[in-house]
Subunit: 189 residues, 3 copies
């Protein structure tokens, strides 16, 4: 379901999402307002990307947004993801957000009002709130990072996880292409 | 999707949800059974309000229920929210629940088997389980409050957050009105 | 929505889900690929069971998968649940997973790359990652169990919770039956 944002006291323009033709949005996902989705992006079932308050929401090439993830944000803010970013199942991404290329955000985690440098890895059930993460920061599972002091004390992504996001991106670029081909050919759905 | 609860050994009556005409329910939300939604309520994409076990679910005027939030509860219990309550993205509200006016529950948080006084603020990725929160209680991000002792030790909502919920409510009352007008006029969807 | 997985470089076969006729899948749930659902299973609104990477996903008799739960997994892995398992609202179950009979996983919790013996109880907002849980293990609310040492140090399910999952299963078997009867008779929907 793609639809325009509603008109409000702070935004009188209804804008429809723009999805690049090489990207795939599952039928059960909802995308509202000025959402700009780049090339080869995979958007999974029950995702909500809602640019009626934070706007625009910009999603770079080769990103993947997994099942039940939610993007929304505070009035007057925006959300921008670089390329090759993975937002895993159930994560809440709440603007204002700037996220660099090749970041990974884990299952049911929360990222709000923050700036993430490139190649950050946010573990599962973790919260990143109101901070700036340096490039390559590693947030362990379950960690709450809600002061800049905690953010500055984080370690770097360990060697064992350095290739993890690249593999996730590779798989999901295949999903974008293959689910998209099937939809366009009307086979199997 | 609005539909009646199913008949069970503990409830032989099928009841349809009642949504006030000034409130808005996104097309991808699911509302089942004896759910009573007051005036000027906004219900976001992929929400599930399911009154087939805990019943009824009562949502007061000017509440907002954000994307992918879930309301359900144990058999024989119920859920009641006062007015101007905000349930943020991904939160699970599980009966029995009594929640006073002007409470805020954060992203991916859990509130279960609890009573919250007015103006409580539950942070993100927090859990409130089996307790009573005094009016104006503040649950920090990521905190697990699962004994009354922990509940009694909570501080009060800080000054910097005292107006936060009011702003959220104001924005979402606009959403209820504006998305509703558009739906009724069949423009843009 | 039931549909086949897409074809990928690691899987050239499109497979449709197989749902036993006694089980119920809510209209807003999405089930994709080689998902095999046993008897008397209840699958709630906005659930996503997606066997396009981890495959198959096998769900035993009398399980229940609650609102907005997500099943997915790493390439080359699979997910298998025994009988009478409850996956509560918002939980993420990410393969490889083997879960024994009568396990319970709580609200918004994460279980990934793990093996759970029978009758484990995972609390709310808890994470179980990369470990083996012995039969009857108890994971408290909010606990992160991401090393085998932490897993081995867990206690057993307390007496007060020993019958909890049985009651959940009983209620949900009624839901599978009763929602299913209504759908087949086309009454009330």
């Amino acid at each position: 379901m793609l639809k325009a944002n509603c008109r409000t006291s702070w935004n009188s323009t209804e804008i429809m999402p723009q999805i690049h033709s090489s990207s795939y949005v599952d039928e059960s996902a909802t995308i509202i307002g000025d959402v700009r989705v780049g090339k080869d992006v995979y958007i999974a079932p029950s995702v909500s990307l809602r640019a009626d308050e934070a706007s625009p929401i910009i999603i770079g090439d080769e990103c993947n947004i997994q099942d039940s993830a939610v993007f929304h944000g505070l009035k007057g803010s925006s959300i921008e993801l670089g390329e090759n970013v993975s937002i895993a199942h159930g994560a809440v991404i709440h603007g204002p957000i700037m996220m660099g290329d090749e970041c990974f955000v884990g299952f049911n985690s929360v990222v709000h009002a923050s700036t993430l440098g490139k190649k950050c890895f946010v573990g599962h059930l973790a919260a990143v709130i109101g901070v700036t993460l340096a490039e390559g920061s590693f947030v362990p599972h379950g960690r709450v990072v809600d002061t800049q002091e905690k953010a500055d004390a984080l370690g770097r992504v360990p060697e064992s996880l350095k290739d993890f996001n690249e593999e996730v991106v590779e798989v999901n670029c295949e999903f974008a292409k293959s689910y998209g081909i099937r939809r366009r050919s009307c086979v199997g759905q």
